[in-house]
């Protein structure tokens, strides 16, 4: 099959992560209903640790819905109902005894539209550590803010204006600020919902580069509209269609030899 997408041959892909490696996130028979609407249908997926997993598929197929199951953001939507089982490190996150606040400290999220708080750059990054009480002193907090901004590749650009409003940054900088804000609480998993769709190509390239670095320490799950992006940044890809997880596997295989007809149609641009 002639894929129009160039797949990047990274070292990790060869090892086919996910196969043999202990999965970080396990989803079994996950269904989501918005009122009467059955938006996600019996999804099973294993997400390997310290890697990037891309969720692709046409608009409205349930990618964001699935992503929001993993940090239980669907709880904030009154009409949403989730059934099935999702485990992180073999712990069921829908267990009634589990504390959502702690779950969300372990599973960070970056949204489609950059949404820095209307506070200073410093306060944006310090927000999570403060509410979770991670820093015992101002010096420790400074340290966390600095390293988070460094990891998000933003520190050099903003180090002289940490007290300026986060909303005064450019779109790409805002998105990296949101990434810094997410990693400031040292999560294990980072969910990204089309993090580059509001950004220009240069800002996009920066974020993609960043993801490549972050996967050394974090498990990243990214929703993307761009198959090129999925191919560039991810090791594994899952293809959703009409609420069904059609196919998932190593990114390289997905883009060169998809098993399912629908996957093939989508990645060759026949629909979507």
């Amino acid at each position: 099959m002639n894929s129009m997408v160039q797949v990047k041959h990274s070292e990790a892909v060869g090892a086919a992560p996910g196969i043999g490696v202990k999965p970080k996130v396990i989803a079994r028979d996950v269904n989501v209903y918005y009122g009467e609407k059955h938006a996600l249908k019996s999804v099973d997926l294993d997400v390997p640790e310290r890697s990037v997993t891309a969720l692709i598929g046409p608009s409205g197929c349930g990618k964001s819905t699935f992503l929001r199951c993993i940090n239980r953001m669907n709880d904030t939507i009154p009409i949403a109902r989730v059934t099935g089982k999702i485990e992180i490190d073999e712990r069921d996150i829908y267990d009634p005894t589990l504390d959502v606040v702690q779950l969300r400290a372990r599973v960070g999220m970056v949204f489609q539209k950059p949404n820095p708080f209307p506070k200073s750059i410093y306060e944006n990054v310090a927000y999570g550590p403060k509410i979770h009480g991670f820093a015992r002193s101002k010096a420790e907090l400074d340290e966390i803010v600095t390293t988070s901004l460094q990891k998000a590749g933003l520190f050099e650009e903003v180090k002289d204006r940490l007290n300026e409003s986060g909303t005064s940054l450019s779109g790409g900088q805002q998105q990296r600020l949101c990434i810094a804000r997410a990693i400031a609480v040292s999560p294990e998993v980072i969910l990204m919902d089309e993090p580059c769709s509001a950004l220009d190509p240069i800002a996009t390239a920066k974020i993609e580069e960043l993801m490549d670095e972050l996967r050394a320490n974090f498990t990243i799950i990214i929703v993307t509209h761009s198959m090129q992006q999925a191919a560039r940044v991810s090791q594994r890809t899952a293809f959703f269609h009409l609420g069904i997880l059609v196919e998932e596997g190593a990114t390289e295989t997905m883009f060169t030899t998809p098993r399912d007809r629908r996957t093939q149609d989508y990645i060759t641009g026949r629909f979507g």
């Binding site: 606040v101 969300r104 400290a105 949404n115 708080f117 609480v185």
Partner: protein, 455 residues
Amino acid sequence: MVALYCAGIAVLVIVGFLFGRSRAAIAERSEPLHSRPPYHGAYVSICVLLPMLLLLAIGLPIADHLVTSQALHAFDPAVINDDLKRGAALRDIVALAQGRLPGEPSIALRRAADVYVSTHSWTYNLILATGLVFGLLGASFGLRSLSTRFRARNRVERVVKWVLLAAALVAVLTTIGIVFSVLFETVRFFERVSPFEFLFGLQWSPQIAMRADQAGSSGAFGIVPLVVGTLLITTIAMLIAGPIGLFAAIYMAEYASPRFRSFAKPLLEILAGVPTVVLGFFAALTLAPLIREVGESVGLNVASESALAAGIVMGMMIIPFVSSLSDDVINAVPQSLRDGSYAMGSTKSETIKKVILPAAFSGIVSAMMLAISRAVGETMIVVMAAGLAGNLTFNPLQAVTTFTVQIKTILVGDQEFDSAKTLAAFALGFVLFFFTLTLNVIAMQIVKRYREQYD
């Protein structure tokens, strides 16, 4: 007559519109139009309307003047220069002319009434006839200027712009006019009472000025007791309405189910619609005695009219303002900020405290400022519940008085219009105006400083 004239305008305007439009529609068959046919119709209508309205606006006052002066001349030229007699004579003449003067009229009066009727009828008929001619001329002018290339749309748009501008000017000019007339009277007041005494005097008793035999017949015009009274009541009101209104808004916006919202919001708006007189007698007849009883049972000396009662009821009055404005502001905070905060693992109250309220801060401040303006300007509740005595006290259990109450007290009843006492009302009004203005300017500054842009 005016009704007939307006009917004439309406008919000509409609006919003009239809003619203009159909003329354009017919012309369109041979050649494309610059403007759509309705614009041609509207243009003809305007050509009819403007001259007719203009004539009415100029003609009516002239006609009225002519009618009255002719009638008065016929009655007795001597009364023309005497305001009082002139008014009385005119009233009789008009009454007789309309056939509702009781008793037997004098010869002169009858003559005057005849002149009144005849002058009235010929001037008005003249206006009517001229108006119709103007309208027809306008229509024919409008119709003649129509052509396929005629820029009717641009002209109509220009007229629309001028009409809107005129409306805006009326609004601005009346405001300026009011401010200046108050300012003018205030200056006259300060010719009688020194501004220093007015602003810093500790005693307010304008009543004394009415009694010329009194030693200090100039009265005491120190507004400090009024300032203190106003601030005391406003503070009590805001202590109640501020937190309750804000918390209610937070509950409505962040916690309430849509079902609860759908009946609680209208309910609050009903509270906002309760006439302040009603709230006033609730304060005076229900709350004030209650406070007095409770106060006395614990051994406090409570006046039967107290700042506390007025303040509490005023607070109840402005709760809906605070809550409904704050609710709008909180709802305007983008959902993405809430999501961002929840996704960091913060709880609902952390999100409200650390993200939503800071983001909505400027709006909440302006809601509070608006509420304060309302409280400061409120009269009825205070009149009924807080009393008239200009006590200088910070004790909320005493009767106090406010700016608005004093303005009302001074101006109720017969007054000489240039005594210091009456003019004091304008000075009070001016200070009140200045105070609210300052409040608004401060609010605007705060809003500007904290404004956050969301795109």
